[in-house]
């Protein structure tokens, strides 16, 4: 057996012939899977899990909001998002002859009377996942990243529901999960794996064999 075929890295077997080409091919496949699989799944999650969940919250605080999806009015308009708009603001907009998406847009621009939940596993997953597939074509690190994003997404759903139904500051916590937490996961997970593959960083120690005195 030629030596090249039995090459291994700290992360297992590597492709010895044209690894970059295979990496690019797998990254393109992931892009396709994202466009035709993950994106519709995000829209489905927003429509069939998040929106019904938020509408089912029956507390007095939640009743002050109307749960709206702009894509219910204009097909294709932010289908992965669910908005909680203050009912008074929405009705005033309707009375003034505005459509729901316009009321939402103005509320978002003004930064008041509206909060919105966005389905997880967006572009901030796709780009680092493509990087991981490109660099480690034989390892399912993209799936590890996906798992982290799903956990953050579930957390964000719970936090948003708490903000909507019971505790306004939870909206702030939701914003934190959507921004810094998601960004950190998207960048730190690939970074630590990348460094560990080169014997650097906190994960490298875990992947080294224990030294026996």
């Amino acid at each position: 057996m030629p030596e090249a075929e039995s090459k291994t890295s700290p992360f297992g077997r590597v492709i010895s012939r044209h690894p970059r080409l295979w990496g690019a091919l797998f990254a393109m496949l992931l892009l396709g899977a994202y466009v035709y699989g993950v994106r519709p799944a995000r829209e489905w999650t927003a429509a069939h899990i998040a929106a019904p969940l938020f509408r089912s919250i029956g507390t007095p605080r939640a009743r002050a909001f109307t749960i709206v999806r702009p894509s219910d009015y204009v097909p294709g308009n932010q289908p992965e998002a669910v908005f909680a708009v203050e009912t008074g603001r929405l009705q005033a907009g309707f009375a003034a002859g505005q459509a729901a998406p316009d009321v939402i847009r103005e509320a978002v621009r003004a930064g008041e009377g509206v909060a919105y939940w966005v389905a997880p596993v967006g572009v901030l997953f796709l780009l680092p996942a493509m990087f991981l597939v490109f660099v480690f074509p034989t390892r399912p690190f993209w799936a590890v990243l996906l798992a982290y994003h799903l956990v953050v997404g579930a957390l964000s759903l719970a936090v948003f529901a708490v903000g909507l139904g019971w505790f306004a500051p939870a909206f702030g916590l939701y914003l934190f999960t959507r921004t810094y937490l998601t960004e950190s996961v998207s960048l730190v997970v690939p970074l630590l794996l990348y460094l560990a593959a080169r014997g650097l960083g906190p994960l490298a120690a875990a992947s080294r064999p224990a030294r026996i005195p």
Binding site: Y180, L191, A206
Partner: protein, 192 residues
């Protein structure tokens, strides 16, 4: 319970790094949301500075360039407004949070952080200049470029800076196995 304890013992450096990073981002988030955003001066300064520097970069190519506070006009009708979310402040804080949390020496952080901040600000200036050119030459794709280009460029630069910091931070890899003890001479048995 003992499994969790054993995991944290094995991954002490990793856990410490993640906890420190989460704490830094949480502290920054609270500081920004409660004080800096309502105050507005930091955002205004950064936005107007980026606008001014972008204007200086564009001026040789667009002689009619005008900078009006946060707005840059490359020519009449072709302009962009740098809002709070577009001034790069969150990217700057993302970068600093990692460098402070990740193992390294403070002497190296003292020069690496300003260098990284400068790199991110320059990236934002180039991004704004590119957006103005796109707005002038290919206005039909401005929305897509604005949404994706910023994301891609910012995260690529931050990722590169983080990799650089992991290499030049000046600290041994955390949890590195301690150096092997010097070999102990084997006792020679008399009469053997």
């Amino acid at each position: 319970m003992s499994d969790a304890r054993s995991f944290f013992a094995t991954h002490r450096a990793l856990s410490l790094f993640l906890l420190k990073m989460a704490a830094i981002y949480a502290a920054w988030f609270v500081l920004y949301d409660l004080w800096l955003l309502p105050d507005g001066r930091l955002d205004t300064w950064l936005s107007t500075s980026v606008a001014s520097w972008t204007g200086a970069v564009l001026a040789p190519f667009y002689p009619e360039t005008i900078v009006d506070s946060r707005t840059i006009w490359a020519k009449p009708g072709i302009g962009i407004l740098i809002e709070n979310g577009c001034n790069g402040l969150s990217a700057l804080s993302l970068f600093i949070g990692f460098v402070v949390a990740y193992p390294g020496t403070w002497a190296r952080r003292a020069w690496f952080i300003p260098m990284g901040l400068a790199a991110i600000v320059v990236t934002n200036i180039v991004r704004c200049a590119v957006l103005l050119v796109v707005s002038d030459k290919w206005p039909q794709i401005f929305g897509e470029v604005h949404a994706l280009h910023a994301l891609f460029v910012f995260y690529l630069v931050i990722f590169g800076l983080w990799v650089l910091w992991a290499n030049v931070g000046g600290s041994a890899p955390p949890d590195a196995a301690p150096p092997a003890p010097p070999p102990v001479p084997r006792p020679v048995l008399a009469g053997a």
